[in-house]
């Protein structure tokens, strides 16, 4: 059946709205947009931007929460230079980040590639592998404390089967931080895996076919097709992982309490202790601003690098 369109009588054709009405319509749309944005914007101002500004002000004060605050200028920032625990916490946090982020990405990517091979029951595997990420850190930390028990713990028992006498992981100068890193990688790889899997499934198959016709090996396909096409997902995972690892706190607090010595004291843990256990709000705010500056600089550098390394087009 052919469709016929009846001609519209000239009197019923809609005339272009007057300019004032168009503006009113546009104002209405803007208002609607702001209304939709408002909850998120208000939340951002109150819970993110506000505290950052407040931290800036508090960092210039000597304030114990109860006595009236005293203006001390940049003294809190000057204190950072002579505070060995702060530097130790900074080095520990950098160590944690430098090791845990690449490890997490390698494990996440490897598992995502495996799940992308068209395995049977892939949904079940995906859910199973995502479980550590979905479990609260406190519970995971307690389980890993048990795994790391030197005598009879599962880790050392397994090492014993291959003739290795495992250390006292959580009280060892050398092994406490690696132990935390392994636990953190196990806890967080699920997130990266899901992002990589989504990225892998969005890569057009014809690119692989073209590579195959050109005689590419599996490794060449991975290097020249998969990795470039996965670069937006990789960029996202790297940025979020680095920010997350700079803020590592709960697992270190529960598993080692920052010890032995200050071997696993992280920056956020030290900031928390300074502000809420030692009531030195100004100094804690100064430390948090330094951490904020580190994260901003590193993230900005990543965004700059992404222009060269990340490919958003197909």
């Amino acid at each position: 059946m052919a469709l016929q369109t009846a001609p519209v009588p000239p009197e019923t054709r809609s005339a272009p709205p007057p300019r004032r009405s168009r503006w009113r319509e546009r104002d209405k749309q803007t208002l609607t947009a702001w209304l939709f944005l408002a909850p998120s914007f208000i939340g951002f101002v109150i819970f993110t931007a506000g505290p950052v500004v407040a931290a800036g002000v508090i960092s210039l004060l000597d304030w114990n929460l109860f006595s009236p605050p005293e203006f001390t200028g940049l003294e809190n920032f000057a204190r950072l230079g002579g505070d060995p625990t702060f530097w130790s916490a900074l080095v520990n946090t950098a160590y944690f980040t430098l090791v845990s982020v690449p490890l997490t990405i390698v494990v996440s990517l490897a598992l995502a590639l495996l799940l992308n091979q068209g395995l049977r029951r892939v949904a079940a595997f995906r859910s199973l592998l995502l479980l550590p990420y979905a479990t609260i850190t406190v519970a995971v930390a307690f389980v890993w404390i048990w795994l790391y028990i030197p005598h009879g713990g599962m880790v050392n028992t397994a090492l014993g089967w291959i003739g290795i006498d495992g250390p006292a992981w959580l009280v060892s100068d050398t092994w406490a931080m690696p132990a935390l890193i392994v636990m953190s990688v196990w806890k967080s790889f699920g997130f990266g895996m899901v992002v990589f899997l989504a990225g892998l499934q969005a890569i057009p198959q014809q690119l692989y076919e073209a590579a195959r016709i050109d005689g590419s090996s599996a490794w060449q396909s991975f290097r020249n097709v998969t990795l470039p096409m996965l670069s937006p997902a990789m960029f996202f995972v790297v940025v979020t992982s680095i920010i997350g690892s700079f803020q590592v706190f709960d697992q270190a607090l529960i598993m080692t309490d920052g010890g032995p010595g200050t071997r696993t004291t992280t920056l956020v843990m030290y900031i928390y202790r300074t502000g809420f256990e030692n009531y030195d709000q100004g100094y804690a705010a100064a430390q948090s601003l330094v951490l904020f500056a580190f994260i901003v600089v590193i993230t900005a550098a990543q965004f700059r690098l992404q222009r060269r390394l990340v490919h958003y087009d197909n």
Binding site: S67, P84, A168, D257, P260, E277
Partner: protein, 434 residues
């Protein structure tokens, strides 16, 4: 009226509910009610405080509203309430935290209230709890419990080895104690002694050895003194050289009581407040005085009290003082004693520690100075930082990673800096109170 709820109605009611919740959250304490804060981490503790609350209502004729918080979250909640002006009229304070709060001006001195109240007899409180409740020469809290550290002994293990229990009145020497600890550690998976390598436990050895964390004026570290070093080395040797203690697998979860309750540890250092938990043991046990070092048997004596926040208005002050007196009265502390949780702070109150086991009565005798002795827990206005510092580096010598001397040498400059900071805080607090 429409039977169904429209989306607009739902939003309106949600808004009203949210506003009401916000207002309720911001509300200050109820007027005329006796509000008080206390930590409580078990149903048994909760029952004691419920009984306290009933007692307060009977005594004062006003509603009693206790705010009970788990021990771990108590300080955080108290801080928030103090800062926001919503703290209870009376708040419980652990003795070692008192100088921290007093120096920050969070609680008010009570000397004027005590002096103007002829009914209140401060002399009825044990001297140690009065020292613990004071800062900079002023009384900031009235104690409700106080107790010395004692030595728990697994009588079953002593009997198995044919070794008589130590005397309940004459403390054994450190040498005798070490000999016993080594002897009991000979069988596999059995240990002579258990304590946490943390300053709260180690300080008893320091006091008995004639040492301390800081010097008398709290102006510098005293951990490097020969007495302190000898005391710390004595305990570290029990861990590292004699292997007389259960192996440390995790510094966060070291728990002397849990080790003792396993039944394979012959002796444990702890406070008598653990008697209530030790009663769950499936073996015979008893307590004896802490081993006597060069300075005698003078282990840590610790306690807690009730204090009045500095933000309490003049109008509420009489009610707060009456409430504080009710909570620390002999009758109230008898409730506490009957629950068997810890030793009440008053001479006139009953004992929480009645036999069996046979020696429990020594707790009050130690406090009264009739048996052995004790040393009130000396702390500074930044004790949390001191604990953190010592908790970071000192345990490494108990793991054999560094010697005690090396650990102390590393700690000393930072401990000296904390003592200087403490002096500043004391000076600021003194100036503020003028």
């Amino acid at each position: 009226m429409s039977p169904s709820l429209s989306r607009r109605d739902l939003l309106r009611w949600a808004g009203v509910g949210g506003a009401a919740a916000l207002l309720a959250g911001c509300a200050s304490r109820p007027a005329g009610a006796a509000t008080w804060s206390m930590w409580s981490s078990s149903p048994a503790e909760g029952k004691v405080w419920a009984d306290f609350s009933t007692f307060v209502e009977q005594q004062m004729g006003v509603p009693s509203i206790p705010t009970l918080t788990s021990s771990n979250g108590y300080v955080t909640k108290l801080d928030l309430q103090l800062v926001s002006g919503t703290a209870s009229l009376v708040t419980a304070l652990n003795g070692w935290m008192l100088p921290t709060y007093a120096a920050r001006g969070a609680h008010r001195p009570l000397d004027d209230l005590i002096a103007n109240d002829p009914e209140f007899d401060i002399e009825d409180f044990y001297p140690d709890i009065r020292k613990i409740s004071s800062f900079d020469g002023r009384t900031y809290a009235i104690g409700f419990d106080v107790a010395p550290t004692v030595l728990y002994c697994n009588k079953t293990i002593f009997d198995k080895h044919g070794i008589p229990m130590p005397s309940a009145t004459e403390p054994m020497s450190w040498a005798q104690f070490r000999e016993l600890a080594i002897e009991f550690s000979r069988p596999a998976d059995q240990y002579g002694f258990s304590c946490a390598p943390a300053i709260d436990d180690l300080v008893s050895w320091l006091y008995c050895g004639g040492g301390n964390v800081m010097n008398e004026g709290a102006t510098a570290s005293a951990l490097g003194s020969p007495e302190s070093l000898a005391a710390l080395e004595f305990v570290a040797d029990l861990f590292v050289r004699d292997q007389a203690t259960p192996p440390i697998s995790n510094l966060v979860t070291v728990n002397a009581l849990a080790n003792f309750l396993e039944g394979n540890v012959a002796m444990m250092q702890n406070g008598p407040w653990q008697v209530v938990n030790a009663r769950k043991a499936e073996f015979e046990w008893d307590i004896v005085p802490f081993p006597a070092g060069p300075a005698g048997s003078t282990p840590r004596v610790s306690g807690s009290g009730f204090a009045i926040p500095a933000g309490t208005s003049e109008r509420d002050l009489p009610l707060a003082w009456t409430l504080l007196k009710a909570l620390t009265s002999t009758a109230a502390l008898d409730i506490y004693a009957k629950a068997g949780r810890n030793n009440p702070a008053r001479f006139s109150a009953g004992s929480a520690f009645l036999p069996p086991p046979a020696n429990l009565g020594i707790v009050q005798r130690i406090l009264a100075g009739e048996v052995a002795g004790g040393h009130h827990y000396e702390v500074t206005t930044n004790w949390n930082q001191v604990r953190q510092l010592l908790g970071q580096d000192l345990p490494r010598s108990f793991l054999g990673q560094v010697s005690v001397r090396e650990a102390v040498d590393g700690i000393t400059p930072r401990l000296d800096a904390l003592m200087a900071q403490h002096q500043d805080k004391v000076r600021q607090a003194t100036e503020r109170s003028r």
